[in-house]
Symmetry: C2
Subunit: 726 residues, 2 copies
């Protein structure tokens, strides 16, 4: 029996009542839920306070879906690039390379919604120049320019729901459960769907009195996933709006915004408005348009749920497009709660910081799926530890209200050491709540601003492709927000636009700009306007801090690549200034790099040589002819440069030191700071106690300093300890 109970949601399923009962007791669970493809057993309500049920507004009723084939959700796709290998008509099979079980072309007003572009000249081929064979899906360009490349942006219909397709293929339902339906999604904007959705939800609520919390999974539009012709993932974008389109929506947009969106506005030359792309006006408008629409519709479903006396919880995933939780319309939905998956500290903060809901919940990894829960190399305990260790940093700074697990509990029950481990994790989670007594730990007296093209909309969501997946190109930047998610700073995500318009908010002490050149995170052509550099120079010189990571402020102009090279004291070599000799002023000891025991690990680095612009720049790490860390004074302010910052305990600590140094607050290195970077301390001044956590898998000795005193502690592997201060 656990010491305390509550705050935990566990998945359940039919047919193993006794095991579920025991597990619920062990975990101290006070809520249960089903999953995609499992059903709630009868005993659910007697086990716990609250029963959640998944609810799929956009694919829950396949009988209805099959009866209304004109309601399929669309998706914008771009054909493969095809080169005209000489004169004569060019045939393009638009779906070549795509999964034909997922998509088929949508032929509604092809001349309006399809677009053929000569990618070599950049010219659009007018509809009179091409034709489509609707029997074969082949588009023919009558007279292409020989040796030019062509693409077709076209509307498709989704004939298989993305998440269900993923689950179906991942779990091998084709073999194990061949009678299972391949579910079709329906679009809330299409003929009769909305009326049906409202009515179906009301009926479902009536039919399921045992359900206390409706766990919407999610609302209407899935993030972008396309599979390839071999049934494998071809494209994934957690922020993709390509599957939120339809002739109806595009027409409505035109009526409201007064201009026509083109296929190219969605397929974006094949980049599909990836969040790494500097966003266009059209794409921003579309996000606004769909978010507003989804919020209105979702609110009505929430209202129906409330009217039936239930809570409405949103799963932040799957069909979450249009509900970006840091967008302006999200609070208006009126949700009670958001639940999301935690893959890291940053994604945990993404959930725990969401405004406008009563409570938040995180589903920890691993998901109880056979890819991890197998006796053939699967390591569920290892994954649970990793998930907990990375999320705990975030939870300490900003506790989530609830936690849980998901998937098929029958699989997890085959691993008793896993059950034992998550039992302990549930208790440690509750202890944080109990011992902090609802008090947030003390943060630094200044806010850290993360500056990019997206600003608050993508709070904690920078450099993300698929949710929390590791990407070689991105991890050296993801580390910045991952570190911040567990460090003692308030963090605000700011856009170039708002800073240009309103200036840097007064509470911000240090700005961070992290990213690769030409991306929304570094800024790309946002830096073309010299006013941005001008404003930031003045702001830093007046006594603030600036931290650049990778290719901050990168935009080739006026003889520099980094537009803030004077502030940062560094620039990036792109083989244009090799004529200039460099004599880096390498400084062996500095407060920023004091915890490094090996050369600073910059991951993939900035992808090339970085050099100090002059001897005033203090080079703190210099490896193989390129600078990795530098510090520079600028006016009364300070700047720090990192060529990359993949997450690690020592890199996180180095960033923390850099933030204090940049803000001229080195005194904070004595105030609630630990000697061992594997450990972190959270100070609760109201309760006069602190929590020390060991983020490593080894025993850790550490000294905690604060209020002029120090404590020598030894923490167990992954352990934590509360200490009272008299």
């Amino acid at each position: 029996m656990p010491r305390t109970t509550g705050r935990v949601t566990m998945p359940i399923q039919e047919g193993i009542d006794e095991q579920i009962r025991e597990l619920a007791q062990a975990l101290g669970a006070d809520a249960v839920r089903n999953s995609d493809g499992t059903w709630l057993p009868e005993i659910a309500s007697e086990l716990v306070d609250k029963v959640y049920s998944t609810y799929f507004p956009a694919r829950g009723d396949q009988e209805w879906a099959l009866a209304h084939p004109d309601t399929l959700v669309n998706q914008y796709l771009m054909s493969a690039r095809v080169t005209a290998m000489g004169p004569g008509p060019l045939r393009i099979d638009v779906l070549e390379g795509y999964f034909r079980e997922q998509f088929r072309p949508c032929y509604e007003r092809v001349e309006r919604f399809w677009e053929v572009i000569d990618r070599t000249s950049g010219e659009v081929v007018p509809p009179s120049g091409w034709s489509v064979n609707q029997a074969t899906g082949v588009l023919t360009v009558a007279e292409p320019a020989p040796w030019h490349e062509y693409t077709v942006g076209f509307l498709a219909e989704q004939v298989w729901d993305t998440t269900q397709m993923y689950n179906y293929i991942t779990n091998g339902w084709g073999e194990t459960d061949p009678t299972r339906v391949k579910e079709r999604p329906y679009d809330v904007r299409k003929n009769g769907v909305w009326e049906y959705m409202r009515e179906a939800l009301g009926r479902w609520l009536e039919q399921h009195p045992e359900v206390d919390v409706v766990r919407f999974t999610t609302f209407f539009y899935h993030f972008t996933i396309a599979f390839n012709s071999e049934g494998k993932e071809k494209m994934v974008d957690w922020f993709g709006y390509s599957a939120s389109v339809s002739p109806e929506a595009i027409d409505a947009f035109e009526a409201e915004y007064g201009y026509r969106l083109r296929a190219e506005d969605f397929v974006d030359a094949g980049y599909y408005n990836s969040p790494f792309r500097c966003p266009t006006r059209q794409f921003r408008d579309w996000i606004d348009f769909q978010s507003r629409f989804v919020a209105q519709r979702a609110k009505e479903l929430v209202d129906i749920t409330h009217a039936a006396g239930r809570e409405a919880m949103m799963f932040l995933g799957d069909n979450w497009i249009g509900t970006e939780p840091y967008g302006p319309y999200f609070p208006s939905i009126g949700l009670d709660a958001v639940v999301g998956s935690a893959g890291s500290a940053a994604t945990t903060r993404l959930i725990s910081d969401i405004p406008g809901v009563r409570y938040t919940e995180v589903r920890f990894l691993p998901y109880f799926f056979p890819d991890v829960f197998n006796h053939d190399g699967g390591d569920p305990v290892g994954e649970a530890n990793e998930s907990w260790l990375s999320s705990r940093r975030a939870i300490v700074r900003r506790p989530l209200d609830r936690m849980g697990y998901g998937g098929y509990v029958s699989l997890a029950l085959e691993f008793p050491e896993f059950i034992e481990r998550i039992t302990a994790i549930c208790q440690e989670f509750r202890d944080i709540h109990e011992l902090s007594g609802g008090e947030l730990p003390q943060d630094a007296p200044f806010t850290v601003g993360v500056l990019n093209a997206w600003g608050a909309l993508r709070t904690w969501q920078t450099h993300m492709v698929a949710h929390a997946l590791w990407y070689k190109a991105a991890y050296s930047y993801v580390g910045v927000v991952e570190a911040l998610a567990g460090l003692p700073f308030k963090v605000r995500f700011l856009s170039f636009e708002e800073v240009l318009r309103d200036g840097v908010p007064p509470e911000v002490g240090v700005l961070v700009n992290a990213g690769a050149a030409g991306t929304a995170f570094s800024g790309g052509d946002a830096w073309a306007d010299g006013r941005l550099a001008e404003l930031l120079r003045q702001w830093v010189a007046e006594g603030h801090g600036f931290i650049g990571v990778g290719e901050p402020s990168a935009y080739e102009q006026g003889g520099t690549f980094l537009q803030l090279s004077d502030v940062l004291g560094v620039d990036r070599e792109r083989q244009l200034t090799l004529s200039t000799d460099r004599y880096p002023n390498v400084v062996d000891e500095h407060v920023i790099t004091a915890d490094l025991r090996a050369p600073f690990d910059d991951g993939e680095g900035a992808g090339g040589d970085v050099y100090a612009t002059g001897p005033r720049t203090q080079v703190l790490s210099y490896v193989d002819g390129t600078l990795r860390v530098a510090a520079n004074a600028f006016g009364r302010g300070r700047a720090v440069y990192f060529s990359g910052l993949p997450y690690s305990a020592v890199n996180s600590r180095t960033l923390q030191r850099a933030l204090y140094w940049a803000a001229r607050r080195e005194d904070l290195l004595e105030q609630w700071f630990t000697s061992n970077p594997d450990t972190e301390v959270a100070w609760y001044p109201g309760h006069r106690r602190f929590l020390v956590t060991n983020n490593s898998y080894s025993q850790a000795a550490t000294t905690v300093r604060g209020e002029g005193r120090s404590w020598e502690l030894v923490l167990e592997p992954m352990g934590s300890q509360w200490v009272e201060v008299d």
Copy 2:
């Protein structure tokens, strides 16, 4: 005594006659020369057939230089970038950071020749907005835009000749020979210089009847070198024209070309028209203008030399600006010979391929200077071996007429093992001439075209900053020409402009485009014009080959970064297409990579991830999530991609294989090809003999194949062997 004699030039000096006599015999030298700061001894003429003497047209007479202070050579410089740290006048000390013993500002018509630019807005500050204090060299911008960066492009005077300054500082003459003059250069365009130069040469020839060959070092304008305030090199550009300027020349240019050159046309935002920069029209015009002028003047000095019955030899170095040997005006100078320094196979070919002269000569390394010839870690034998091994590859393909060494022979005589080694090298050099009997070895039946912005003008000179110096950013590209310089191919350097105008020359079988994005070598905005991609696609598809290295055809446009991504089958990830999943088709065995025993070494690589665009691309090397070598069929043609190609024996061999494969001539792998990549074979069909060389420092066993036969050979370290074929 050597087996044969001749073809060798050795440096001599006064005071060690007997040792010089012995050395001349051992080396088989038939010519002697002096160096900067040494004088020819009386015995010179009786030792050898020909006596060379250095001759410095632009600094040889310091008495005259001091008497004519208005003739100093100018140089365009850019001040440091200075940020206006608030409102109020901005003071810029233009020479800050420069070596004041090398430069002083030139105040002639400052409003015409100086230019102040706001680098943040890109605007030029009109002369009315600034003023210069000629006593201090400080320029004041009266009302700068606060927080903008400013630079001043300005004319300086060179008060110390660049090469003599370098020699003076490197040899420590300030301590060892404090009476030595710091030489001042004079500009052939300035008042009375030209008249003086002609007259002085005539007089000198009369006074030096012992001199057979006038070794001009060189003519008028030095390549760009600027030293910093600590007397160290600040900037070096072997191709720099910044020191070829003067008010006189710029006025003459304007009169002839009808437009005004600005300071910015020379300082180029601080890039100074580095050869890596995509060249501007203005810079090309300036090269043409100065080259034509220098050729005319140099021709007159050569004519004077010939009239006195002497030969005229040009040293390709120091003041060589305006005499680019592959430019259109060079042959008109009428030189007998060119001598240059060999730092690699490519720089050896740079000399040996020069058109329009009767003979060529290379000075091998090491130069007899105390930096190498010391008993404190100096390794003259090692450097001689390295120099010979790298140059020999080039010499076998295209023999130089003569070889030599330079510097202070007294230093070399302290190292008997060095003398022994170069004695052997001189003999091996002569043997190549004797046994090839003047026949060039057989090349592949197609020419390799190297495509970049410079074309023939910079034959064998791509990716060079300082002459043959290693640069981290460049060596992965230099390897391409270094390999080609010793491979059995005719090589032509082609510009985008001429290919667009005239098409690819018919003898070219494979085109190579190697370089980093945005450089003259990759092409930068040359690719903005889709006609270039169009033309090359057609050319490849018709059955030719294309080899891309690094970021070939890179120019972000139309959804791809590499504009020939369809031809190459690869593209470069820049964090904009991370949403797309990649499934590389990795091919384990391929004729191109058959000699690799370890993962392909791409040096610095392309600076990021490179991916295959689809399954048709054959990925031949894939390491750590990025592609290093790929092969792709395109129409009837073929393309090969390397992410980098630093020079090594196995990389050179891999390039050779790629060239054969791209040209669909894999049959050539059986025709005069060796099994061991450390060895190379040259076949002389006229003499029916071949030469095998071992480019390694170890014994090498190898099989030579040709004419359906094979020969098993074992070569000594660095050895070579001639084999007769009956």
